[in-house]
Subunit: 229 residues, 2 copies
DNA sequence: GTCGAATAAATTGCATGCAATTATCTATTG
DNA sequence: CAATAGATAATTGCATGCAATTTATTCGAC
């Protein structure tokens, strides 16, 4: 795999991953200079990546005041989870109607990976938990739905990083397994119920307000420079 | 009102409006140079605006090949309308549960404006038809829902510009009136039915594939330089 | 006359530089 | 000692320049 992605793409991917794995915490300032220097590129590329992250809702850019990892409020958190329930119900409905041939296998395989990551207690598990839901959306085949689900899932990660217990995974893996079962049986009632319960559990976990600060940005970024998994 | 928006903001707004009013048709190339020259700024600002429009789905940027007004396929069109039905149902449900005090008045006022614009047969009517749906989303108070609805409505405009009859408004105003009635009565059943019918009508209108090309970009842009209504 | 290769023009990706805005520090005063 | 005003440093917004890639054009062969 040669460098098929442009420089700003690479920065975008690295920053995104760092945020989703909660290495960069909400509120962390992201100066264009530091990012550019760390990645060995100019501010222009860094700025580009920050703009895209802003449109994803992962960073907030205030005019003339720079970018920072977004700090969702509790009010915004409720909005995100409300809309996420709406969208994930749609996913479930569609998948109960029509599931791709290897869909179930792909889901099972993903959960296995989650289990491996969990016992390694790596920050990967946080990201994988979110990607399970993105995989569900991908099985519907709708690019737009994938895009929207990705947005709410990303924002959920951010909310957990802000309000949840530190390093808590987003989802219970067992609930993922139950959901797969219901999808295999094409039982939208049960599947929706599990999903609702699942998301409520996530939302409740966001109620224990917990805070600690003091990150050193550039060391974190150095760990995230390689875009590999 | 002094110039509170930055230069790239102004370009973003103008381009967006030009696309939504179907002055810039799908497929039209948008070179950074031309845009910058037309607006009297550098390529940097133009590029910035194009990046944001790309994340809205209004323009497509291919690496090293530049930006163009997005040309949604029929497949993507179906995805958009499917997801739009899902989201607008959510809007209806919420508004039937809780409608802000002046909500109905605002809706009626908007429809009146639509009627005025219609008899003037201006391209404004196209944009206003979409903004009715955005106004509905705004009444829910959820920023994220507003954002998502704006995206699908924008994409719908693009789809109509590509596949619909030229200069056809997106929506029937009478259906907007009926919908307001159902909302006033807090009747989610009726309201959802009207909305579904309404959106299906829009979708069907997109089945008459109609094409004509040959725009002169910079003259169009000149008309859209002033950001006023 | 058509097809294909080489060259020229146009366009993007990125880096750097400068002015403007914002944040931080210092010093002076009440 | 707290508070405020001024000055200094840091950071963003934007313009310009250059190399690399893409697109258009020209020229030659068949």
């Amino acid at each position: 795999m040669s460098t098929n992605l442009s420089r700003s793409d690479a920065i975008y991917a690295s920053l995104r991953r760092a945020i989703l794995e909660q290495a960069l915490k909400p509120g962390t300032k992201l100066p264009e200079d530091s990012i550019g220097d760390t990645f060995g590129v100019s501010r222009t590329s860094a700025r580009n990546a920050l703009l895209r992250l802003a449109s994803d809702g992962l960073v907030e850019i205030k005019p003339n005041r720079g970018a920072a990892v977004a700090m969702p409020t509790l009010e915004e958190a409720e909005e995100v989870f409300a809309l996420r329930r709406c969208l994930e119900r749609e996913v479930i409905e569609r998948l109960c109607k029509r599931m791709p041939r290897d869909g179930i296998d792909a889901l099972i395989s993903h959960v296995r990976e989650e289990e491996r990551a969990l016992q390694a207690s790596s920050p990967r598990s946080i990201r994988l938990a979110g990607e399970f839901h993105i995989l569900l959306a991908e099985l519907t085949g709708s690019k737009l739905l994938i895009d929207f689900i990705s947005q709410v899932v990303s924002r959920s990660s951010l909310i957990l990083a802000r309000f949840g217990r530190p390093h808590s995974a987003e989802c219970g893996i067992d609930e993922h397994v139950q959901l797969i079962e219901a999808l295999k049986e094409q039982d939208p009632q049960t599947a929706s119920r599990i999903m609702d319960h699942h998301l409520h559990a996530v939302e409740d976990r966001a109620k224990t307000d917990d805070k600690d600060d003091g990150p050193d940005i550039i060391e974190i970024l150095n760990r995230y420079m390689s875009a590999s998994d």
